[in-house]
Symmetry: C2
Subunit: 578 residues, 2 copies
């Protein structure tokens, strides 16, 4: 037995396997996930696993490594979120989202930091040695809403699209603020004196970190789109480029201390429409499938690891500090949302209702990002207190808020997601209004979102598309694409029901009356009608030669290299039969 040799990949594979099996397990019993969010169940599984490891080894189970989290587990989730981000509501609400993400997060950091410092002054709690800077540092890591936790809960409760995008967008974009504040306070903690220059440099960093992330992301995104122009002869590696370039954008941003999350989201949103137009349909299915698969698994692993890492002796249980942390997190978030929404509503016709405000405040879940950041703190004597407080806040938000938010949404009758997507008619109408509004804004000299959207679209079709798309494969208007998609789907359904071209083949023949054709039972089926039927179908559909199982080749998928001659032949033959 040579376990050492295969240990690393073996254990990784086993963890992923555990995560996948846990997911299957939950879905087998449908009642459980409808009451408890999956994230809670997964943390629970993690707690049990951690307990077992603790019981067997009699020492703390290994905590989730921050490097593993930030380098391997987080990127797939954020990539998936960015790639499937509904861009219209996102850009319509970008102002509000940025306000919540930047001003809201700063508000929370300083609110929580200063009020916890106040608590530390109470002598009875024995916390006088925690300095203001340490409290602010703690505030900076505990204030940020976590995209992984928010996604896991909000995708199950189906609130209306605007509310969803507000909370979700904030959780993604606040990464830039968190990165800056966390690193700023951490370096302040290590500095002997703080000059006012440093503070101003910190403010400047916001823009560098955020905009730098966007720039890095977009440049990698466009390079990815450009690369897929040349993959026509080697379709199998097309999906790879989508993953490689987005991951590189994340790593590059992290390398330059920019916001990796912002970078990977810009990269995914920037490349999506061009890559989709360049790569083949099967490649695109693979890209989508793999993104969903990876993010599902990462997400599952994160929650399980959260549970496992909770067990152990890394904690200092100073309950006053921990309880006040939870309370301040709730209070400051609620206040922040109230104040910011007040200003937002003054400048918008389509206001955010008070019910929505409550859900935004209540949906501020904390998760694995805080957890990883607290472990990354430099060693000092109260680190274990911070770890304990962070753990409790995460468990409180995920369990208590995560489990009660669905009943609350029902109780408050918060406006839900539209049951049905816009019809084709509505879509045409929306498009028409966009152009109309762009015209009105242009005439009135108001540079609003429609004006910019129109300009971007012009720039896109004039320059970007020419560089990034293959000539003969220009993107079609979305309505034509939709129509083609529906046609294709319909055609497949027709084919499956056996109603294509030949009315004689009744569906049962194709799907259930299988015994007719398996030769083993040929003698058991004396029905001559069905046999005649089969002969007729085969006779009508047999054209020259059909390729079924091509020989093994590493670089092509079976059936990829079908010559177009044959396709034409089918078309002609079928057209006649119709």
């Amino acid at each position: 037995l040579d376990y050492q040799h295969v240990q690393v990949p073996f254990e990784i594979t086993l963890w992923i396997m555990l995560a996948s099996l846990a997911k299957i397990g939950f879905h087998l019993y449908n009642k459980l996930p409808s009451v408890v969010p999956e994230s809670c169940l997964l943390i629970f599984v993690g707690l049990i696993m951690g307990g077992i490891i603790y019981g067997l080894n009699d020492r703390s189970p290994p905590v989730m490594d921050s490097d593993i989290f930030f380098l391997y587990l987080l990127p797939p989730i954020v990539l998936d979120a960015g790639y499937f981000m509904p861009s219209r509501p996102f850009f319509e609400n970008i102002g509000t989202i940025l306000l919540y993400a930047v001003v809201g997060t700063i508000w929370n950091v300083f609110g929580i930091g200063f009020s916890l410092y106040g608590i530390c002054q109470v002598k009875a709690f024995r916390l006088q040695d925690v300095s203001l800077l340490h409290n602010l540092l703690f505030g900076s890591l505990i204030a940020a809403v976590d995209p992984v936790a928010v996604l896991a809960v909000f995708e199950e409760i189906h609130v209306n699209e605007k509310l969803h995008i507000l909370v979700f967008g904030e959780s993604l974009l606040n990464d830039a603020v968190t990165v800056v504040l966390y690193k700023l306070f951490r370096s302040f903690c290590e500095m002997p004196t703080i000059k006012s220059v440093d503070v101003f440099a910190g403010v400047g960093k916001f823009f560098v970190v955020g905009l730098g992330g966007v720039l890095v992301g977009l440049s990698f995104g466009f390079t990815a789109a450009f690369t897929t122009r040349f993959t026509k002869d080697i379709r199998v590696i097309e999906p790879l480029f989508v993953f490689l370039y987005s991951y590189l954008s994340y790593l590059t941003a992290e390398m330059f201390h920019l916001s990796g999350i912002v970078a990977i989201i810009s990269c995914a949103m920037g490349m999506k429409r061009y890559v989709e137009a360049n790569i083949s349909l099967k490649s695109h299915t693979t890209v989508k499938y793999f993104m969903k698969m990876w993010s599902s698994v990462s997400d599952t692993l994160i929650f399980i690891f959260l549970g496992v890492s909770t067990i152990g002796e890394n904690h200092e249980w100073n309950w006053p500090y921990i309880c006040f942390t939870v309370i301040f997190c709730l209070i400051w978030r609620a206040l922040g949302v109230l104040v910011l929404t007040f200003f937002v509503n003054r400048f918008h016709v389509n206001t955010i209702t008070s019910k929505d405000q409550f859900i935004i405040a209540y949906g501020g879940l904390r998760g694995a990002i805080c957890f990883s950041l607290v472990f990354l703190l430099p060693d000092f004597h109260r680190k274990k207190l911070f770890i304990a407080a962070t753990t409790v806040v995460i468990l409180f938000t995920v369990f208590v808020q995560g489990m009660t938010i669905r009943p609350l949404v029902d109780l408050l009758a918060v406006k839900r997601e539209r049951e049905s997507a816009p019809t084709v008619g509505e879509q045409i109408h929306i498009r028409f209004l966009d152009h109309l509004l762009a015209g009105i804004e242009d005439i009135s000299g108001h540079w609003g979102q429609y004006y910019w959207k129109d300009k971007l679209e012009y720039f896109n079709s004039k320059y970007l598309q020419k560089i990034l798309l293959r000539e003969y494969d220009q993107p079609k208007s979305s309505i034509v694409l939709l129509y083609e998609k529906l046609e294709r789907k319909h055609a497949i359904e027709l084919a499956q029901a056996g109603q294509l071209g030949h009315g004689l083949a009744h569906p049962s023949f194709l799907s259930s009356d299988r015994t007719v054709i398996t030769e083993q039972k040929l003698e058991d089926t004396p029905n001559p009608d069905v046999l005649d039927n089969m002969q007729e179908i085969l006779a009508r559909n047999l054209y020259r030669i059909r390729r079924t199982g091509p020989a093994y080749n590493r670089h092509t998928l079976p059936g990829d290299s079908e010559p177009s001659e044959r396709a034409k032949e089918i078309l002609i033959l079928r057209h006649k039969s119709l």
Copy 2:
């Protein structure tokens, strides 16, 4: 700049990127790959990269780590080979393949080992210090034909299926023999005295390593199939199980010192038909695509690394030894093939022609497995000589044999791959004959391959399918599946040509006359016919409400959760219009 932090994933991503871009580059210029095999070009790229690294650092570039090769690069290639293995020719020739793989490899090991020992006795060559055991050890690592190199060359020359499967099958199955002999001689080298018991134990190990690999593989394969029974509600993680279980089978086999290659091939071949029946069509596309993608990339990386590792100062250039190694490799392989084929032909009606024998002997390419094994040798004073000899043998076989095999195949007019796969009529005939022969074998009491195949098929349909397949999703006869596939394809083509259901929509409307519908240019198209056309199509096809862009959800792909109601509605509506 914080490069340390992201170094590992960043460099891995960059290597993969280099490999992918090299692949695209070769395919852009079609002339090059038609003369030189891709593997040679990749080694050449690697040599240049290695030269650059050597020039910049003034020291040997890092060699390919054997662990990385065996744990991460080899499994995807073998998995792909096993999953797409054409099972019929493989099992029809399994006896011959095993003979070549087991007896042929042993013949080569001892032939090369003993004759090199003879060369070492020539005083002029100054090689007297290389013992017989060391020569045998070297023989055991240099004798085995490499699946990666064989695949890379043979998939480009399109010889007939039987010839292909003989060389390819041998290269896969000789792994068990190589593992046993290599480990045996390595332990003998370290032992002070060798008892006869050890030799017998070595012979017994053959069976343990090979059959153990098959057992491990099959058990993981069936577990994978069983697991996919329960993934109906969570389609996105289906592809994951295929990869996880096959990788686990490989690692488990390696852990117990069994043959990992044999295990992963058995796993892939065992699970394929059940997994295919259980998982959704899109999942299956993803599985196939990702396997091809991974194996392509691994293969590319291996050849590039081979090139990079060649540069440097790891070599001891004793030319007599090196040249005789190349010569003996060629001679002993040719002799082995001649002798073994003589016996094979005596027992078969369908003999192996002398042209085929020449190609089998000439196609015995060596590759990265030898290379990794030679670096895994324990340190002794002549290790660098072995490394040099291995490098030269690999470069000679890949460049000289790899580049001349295609002209030779043309020159000898070796029987090529059938241009066309069997027609439906032929397929029915083949099936019929299988059953007939099984009956004849049964009556005559001869337990031949048809008898066993029939028994296996019975066992499969009686027990295995019931356990491993979901009830409502039973596999159909392959001919029905083929028919459905052709129907589906035809339907998609019809839909793309716009000939489905409504004769009015002429194809140009859907594909090229895009300007009609993009609203920006609406005023430029005064053609009322086309507009009427469009209105009519929309009016006819609009039914209740169409879902186009569902909200973001991590666990489902857009359009997955389409209610079947709507599909029915389309069907009814369309049926009327037909």
